[in-house]
Structure formats: C-alpha cells, structure tokens
C-alpha cells in the first residue's frame, strides 16, 4: 500500500488523539462563536443603525480578518494577546486568563476569524427589520436596549442564527491564525484542521487524514443542513405574514 490508505484503516475507530482533536475543535468553535456573539450583535447594530465618525474605519477593521492572510492575523494575535502582549498581559493580570499556546487562544483565533462573517450576516438581517416597528416600540415607552431585545433581535433572528453558523463553520476550519498563534499541541491546541495537517506530514498518516477529512465534511454538512432548516422555517413564517 504505497498510495492512500486502505478502507479498513479508514473505518477503524478514532485514536484517542483524534478524538481529542475533534472534541477540542467543537469546544473551540462553540466557545469562540458564543463569546463573539454579543460583540457581533453590538457591532452589527452600530453598523446597521447608527451613523458616527469612524464608522467606515470600524467596518474596515471588522472585515480585516476576512481579507488578510490568516498567518498575519495569527501573528498580530500573538503580538497583542501573547503573554508579553499588552492585552495578553492585561487578561492574565486581571483574570488569570492566558491565551498563548492554550485552547483559549485557539478559541480567540476562531472568534476573530469568524467575526466578519458573523457581523455581515447579522447586519444584513438587522437592515431588513423595519425601523418603523422600532419607532412604534419607542412611542410605547421602550428604552433603546429593550427595543433591540424585544423587536429588532427577534425579527433579525434568522440572520443572527445564520451568522453564528457561518462563524462556527469558519472556526472549525480555522488553520493559519490558530497554528501561528497557539501552535499545534496535541491535547491543548490541536484541532481537526491542525491534526489533519500533522497527519499529512508523517509517513502512514493517510488513514488518519482521511478520517479527519470525513469528520470535517460531516460537521460542515451538518452546519449547512441546520442553516437550511432554519432558513426554510423562516421563509415559511414570512409566508404566514
């Protein structure tokens, strides 16, 4: 067996290291998505509904991770959130939170890389919410944060969910920023993507690479299916209106 891997090797159970990488990927992507959600909602709201000096700049900064080489983002994270970096230092001093070479750093990298996708989807859906409904809520006495919580966010929910799924999927696939920022340490920062990379670098790693590839495809597919189901439910609800 010179090329590729045998079917039986691919169908063999996951090794402990593979399981660790799969579970870590799910953990990193979930935490990254959930932690970035409040920021994503706030930034999307600002971009959709407010005008302020520096709006174009904010929009640009948010979108940078989408257009920069991921390695650059990873390097900037290392400079900013490494133990010697200003933010990394502050987080360690205030709450004992260390990012560099930890799974928390992988979650941060995933959150940053998925952020532009999340903000875009949420912003677009907030823009579709009729501002006249928000005005109506104000005349009924609701303060702005509650107008957002009771009117804008529920009506923008499909976009919010879509944004979360996009960010989650992006986080699962995140490679460049992660490996630059937190390296590829089995059991601590090794995710599906970086484990897959490792598997391709060692002789006889093809079967492992194939198994992780299948897992990555399944997770991506599941995310798409969930997104489709939610979209269908939303369009059905829209038909009812």
């Amino acid at each position: 067996m010179e090329q590729g891997a045998s079917l039986s090797a691919i169908l063999a159970p996951f090794t402990p290291q593979e399981w660790t990488a799969i579970l870590l990927s799910l953990k990193v992507a979930t935490v990254g998505t959930l932690v970035s959600l409040p920021f994503g909602l706030a930034v999307a709201y600002l971009l959709a509904r407010r005008s302020f000096p520096g709006k174009t700049l904010l929009n640009g900064i948010v979108h940078l991770p989408l257009v920069m080489p991921p390695v650059v983002t990873g390097w900037l994270l290392l400079l900013g959130f490494g133990r010697q970096g200003p933010f990394g230092h502050a987080f360690e001093a205030c709450c004992g939170l260390v990012f560099s070479f930890r799974w928390t750093g992988a979650a941060l990298a995933a959150a940053v890389m998925g952020f532009p996708l999340m903000v875009r989807a949420i912003r677009l859906s907030i823009e579709t919410v009729d501002t006249k409904l928000e005005q109506a809520a104000k005349t009924l006495g609701a303060p702005s944060p509650l107008v957002f919580a009771t009117i804008t966010a529920p009506l923008a929910l499909p976009g919010i969910v879509a944004g979360m799924i996009l960010a989650f999927a992006r986080a699962i696939g995140e490679f460049g920023a992660t490996i630059t920022f937190v390296a590829n340490i089995p059991g601590e920062t090794q995710t599906i993507a970086t484990a897959l990379y490792s598997a391709t670098q060692i002789p006889g790693g093809e079967a492992g690479a194939a198994r992780l590839t299948i897992v990555a495809i399944l997770i991506a597919f599941a995310a798409l299916v969930v997104a489709e189901i939610l979209a269908a439910r939303v369009s059905r609800a829209a038909m009812d209106q």
């Binding site: 005349t139 009924l140 609701a142 009506l155």
Partner: protein, 222 residues
Amino acid sequence: MIEIDAFHRQGDFTLQANVRAKGRALALCGASGAGKTTLLNIVAGLVRPQAGRVEVNGVTLLDTKLGIDLAPRRRRVGYVFQELRLFPHLKVERNLLYGRRFAPKATPSVDFDQAVDLLGLRGLLTRWPARLSGGEKQRVAIGRALLANPQILLMDEPLAALDDARRMEILSYIEKLRDAFAIPIVFVSHRLSEVERLASDIAVLDHGKVAERRGGGRANGS
C-alpha cells in the same frame, strides 16, 4: 388641552402650523401631502422641527426655544400609525401589553379588560397579527396605543383602509374611547365628514399651513 406650534422644512416641503384645541378631540384634516402626519410625528417626537413647541395637558413635550425635547419614549403618546405597525412576531395579547411595563406605575391606568371588551378584542388575543382582518388589526393597534396608558392618543387615518361598514364600526369604537377614557385624541383624516362627528376642534391643513379652523374651544365634547 393640546397646543402644537411647529416650523419644519424638509426639501421642498415647508410646514408652518399653529394648532390648539381646548376640547377632548382635535382633528387635522386636509389632502395628502398637507403635513398632517408630519405634525403627528412632531407631537410623538419622531420628527424634530426646526422650531416649535408642543404642549399636552400642561406638559411641555417640545420647546426648541427653551431646549426642551423629550425622547419619544418619555412623551407618553399613544400613536396609532396609519400603517398600524403591529409587531408581527408577537401575538395580539403581547402586542396589546407591550407598552404596559413601561408606563409609570403611579398613574391611574387604562383597565386591560375594559379596553379589550370595548374594542371587541376578547376573541383575538391568541391570534397572530398576520391572521387578522383589516378592521381587527386597526382595533388591535388602537388597543395597543391605549393600553400604554398615554397622555394623548394620536390616530393617523384610522378609517382610511376600511370599507364603509367597518368604518362606522371603528368610528363608534373611537367615540366610545373618547368618552370612556379621559384621554385627548388628535385625529388625522383626509375626510372632513368623518372628523366632524368626532372632534370639537378641527384644523384644515393645506400645503403645510392651516387653511381653516373650526371650534377653537367652541364646544366641549360632542
């Protein structure tokens, strides 16, 4: 007592109107584009005029000279919008109760059951707005504004989208409201005939100016 004095220029359109009413209901009449809705939006705080003053029951909501400009949510106006603006994701009951929790607790409030019965909403409480007829939606919108416990009700063409039978029905609901709850009403319509029945004071607007006034405290109530 309602007093509205506003100067507002928006593109080619200039609104310069001074309207006051001593009675419980004031009607603003005039062709479309005369500035009726803009005037309501100024009272509600959704449009800020370049200069003006709005006073309702002795409370100054806006005075550009004195730098007073209450936020819409602090004005306590119950606004029945022409396009109704019911919240599509909330059932009728939640729409009706939306303003309830923001209303000041101390003031005597409009009774939920009384309002629901008066507007004939009892059977609609668990329905979605999308499942209502035009007349039903109109009544829910009126109920929602009323139950926010407002100082004043603003109604923008509440009868325009209805057929004649429904129109008479809503008209009588509004009459009942005016008499059952002591809340002043500003009522916008392009038809003089329907406002004459409701309002003691009538101002006819034309191209942003008051062309004609009737009442002016002449009659109190109907």
